[in-house]
Symmetry: none
Subunit: 403 residues, 2 copies
């Protein structure tokens, strides 16, 4: 399953990056396969990349998604227990006087700090909270926090103001049951700030002219959900080739393997060839391989029509290799997790294109992988929540319901 993140658009003067790009290989695959459009989560619902990937892997996000936190936690290898509350954490830089909630966020990534191990160690050693906590580093400025104790609730708001120049937000309870959790988050936020502010590493950073990593910004609180592993659910082994932490987290949440690829960056400079090679090789060891490209989404967020068009063309040029797969054995899906129109600069609910290539699919008349053509194909309009099941049926891995 090749997921080209946010590849589809709304037209600008009748054209989209995908419809404008020269994509001979994608077009050939569309011609070889069956095509359609897809609401990854549900019609009119704007998916995040996390909820949409859950859907693409056959997990109903309305049932299994409580927030981004649990996915970040899974991404760094923390296994949640019932009652836990998980958060995505950013090491950030704040400035000003008073408590942390009086201070202004000046850098949400603390100068893209590379190693936060010592800072986390200090917090583990010095922080005293009324509940247990697990703080684990991700790549760069990223981390995950899990609070573990009785009577916690994930119905709390973010402390991350999401934009620089704004004050750190006070965590608020969304209902009575979450009052204690909100209080703990606020204590956590203040105390970790005090520990980080005085940490020797930050004195070194200041001396080097780097911004202090003196605050932890929390967002995406979520709780435990009982979720069957991919292997348990389908009897199949899953691997993901993606450089994007959130997608890697979704994969780990469902017990899949994350494959690291040299030169995979999650942006336009990613090593497309290496990633495709790794995904194809992974098919020897795994039943389902999700190959994810992020740059199309980034360029959509940046409202960069030309850049998105060019990256799609670049991506397509590497897809020649995919054309030569043995489609009597392999079922190939090419799709996206959501649209990220350059005209909007954010995810939208516009359906995504989907092409399935496999011996035996009902090949249709579509000859171009574009928003203006695929909807005419034999899949019509499907739901992302059904996609994996449709593919498993095509490869005869589906069970009969009834006699």
């Amino acid at each position: 399953m090749v997921v080209i993140d946010g590849v589809s658009d709304r037209p600008v003067n009748g054209k989209t990056p995908l419809s404008s790009a020269k994509t001979p290989n994608l077009d050939k695959l569309a011609e070889m396969g069956i095509n359609g459009i897809m609401d990854t989560v549900s019609p009119g619902i704007r998916p995040g990349s996390d909820t949409s990937h859950l859907a693409l892997l056959g997990y109903d996000p309305f049932k299994y998604y409580t927030g981004r936190g649990p996915i970040e936690a899974a991404g760094v290898g923390i296994e949640l227990k019932p009652g836990d509350v998980a958060f995505r954490v950013n090491f950030a830089t704040v400035k000003g006087e008073g408590t942390i909630f009086d201070k202004i966020v000046v850098d949400r990534r603390a100068g893209r700090i590379e190693d936060t191990s010592d800072l986390i160690k200090a917090i583990e050693d010095e922080l005293d909270l009324p509940v247990k906590f697990i703080l684990k580093k991700g790549t760069g400025h990223r981390a995950a926090l899990v609070l573990r104790g009785d009577n916690l609730s994930h119905e709390v708001t973010d402390t991350d103001p999401k934009k620089v120049g704004r004050k750190v937000k006070t965590c608020k309870a969304k209902n009575k049951e979450a009052l204690e959790t909100a209080e703990i988050v606020n204590v956590f936020t203040q105390k970790t700030h005090e520990i980080l502010e005085e940490h020797p590493l930050n004195q070194v950073r200041v001396a080097e002219g780097k911004p202090k990593a003196n605050a932890l910004l929390l967002r995406g609180a979520g709780g435990f959900t009982k979720i069957k592993s991919f292997e348990e659910k389908y009897g199949l082994k899953l691997a993901v080739v993606s450089a994007t932490a959130l997608i890697r987290g979704v994969c780990r949440l469902v017990g899949g393997e994350v494959i690291d690829v040299e030169g995979a960056t999650g942006n336009v400079h990613t090593n497309i060839g290496n990633k495709i090679k790794a995904a194809i090789e992974a098919l020897d060891h795994y039943d389902v391989v999700l190959l994810h490209f992020k740059a199309t989404d980034e360029l959509g967020h940046d409202k960069n029509f030309e850049g998105k068009t060019k990256f799609i063309e670049k991506l397509d040029s590497y897809f020649k290799e995919i054309l030569n797969l043995d489609f009597s054995k392999i079922c190939l899906i090419i799709t996206a997790d959501h649209s990220t129109p350059v005209s909007v600069g954010d995810h939208t609910a516009d359906p995504v294109p989907v092409t399935i290539v496999h011996d035996g699919v009902r090949v249709d008349d579509v000859k171009k992988f574009s928003e203006f053509e695929v909807y005419k194909g034999g899949l019509c309009r499907i739901s992302g929540r059904d996609l994996l099941r449709i593919a498993l049926d095509l490869i005869n891995k589906a069970k009969k319901f009834g006699a």
Copy 2:
């Protein structure tokens, strides 16, 4: 959102009123937009105009619809409380001997009586029931009844036989819990008949050669459902331009504003120009405006192919004004609440055409607003329950689900 009630058909000799009608303006809108077919409630479910309009406004009728009564009650301005049972009421004319349940309905609208205020006043003054009741007049012969008390249930049958020449029906309980309610309805029906029969206004009517308004026929029992207002649910203000009581009731049920238009009649003589003008003006004050035309449905019920075709052409001629809207700001939807094929003379579940015009929609190849063309469009086949969410996404009023 323009709702052309029951506009679509099943073909007769390969043609439908919509496909036969010359509709240059509707066709132009189809050409400018994205098209498809839509199951307003669910595939194969024949919608009433009430359930379908709930769906069109984004309320799942399977969840929120318990019967026509609550919508009629909302239409006349009664706010239901938990435990209430609401009915649609007709002032009618019965003749014969014995109790009301021995008598024959000779006019279901009591000669289309215009003012029932005095009759309702008499009932309020004289009727003694074991529970509280609210009886409120609608337009003409129409009224709504709400029973308020402990242990009531809306699981009771109609007393309205729906056809003249038949006896008034005894209200029956659909289960044990509703036995008391059914008994109260029967007492209500008999006692109001006695009060009305003797009322001076009816002596005057007889002297004038008019039928007595001597019976209340009840139908569509329904109960309270907790329903968020449109503004609460979407953060948007809703207005409806419709002369049809049921549609006005649905609008009021969800807290929308009903706009009165001079010359709006809910039939072929309606002032189309005034209604369109009022709807466009309403866009200055409301976020979502539903403009409803009823005559197409009536002509479908009448099995009048030619009349329906002509009314569609007349309607289309007024749509020129709609063509000139600023579609960078306005998202236009043209659709129906259900099909009312002239070959059937009633609502059917055949999907309805839907066209969405807005800057940024993925314009497709459809060039005619007809049952035989719109299904080829870029929306494919959608559900009426998703329509509003799809539109809100297109105007960037949708929230992201996930990160």
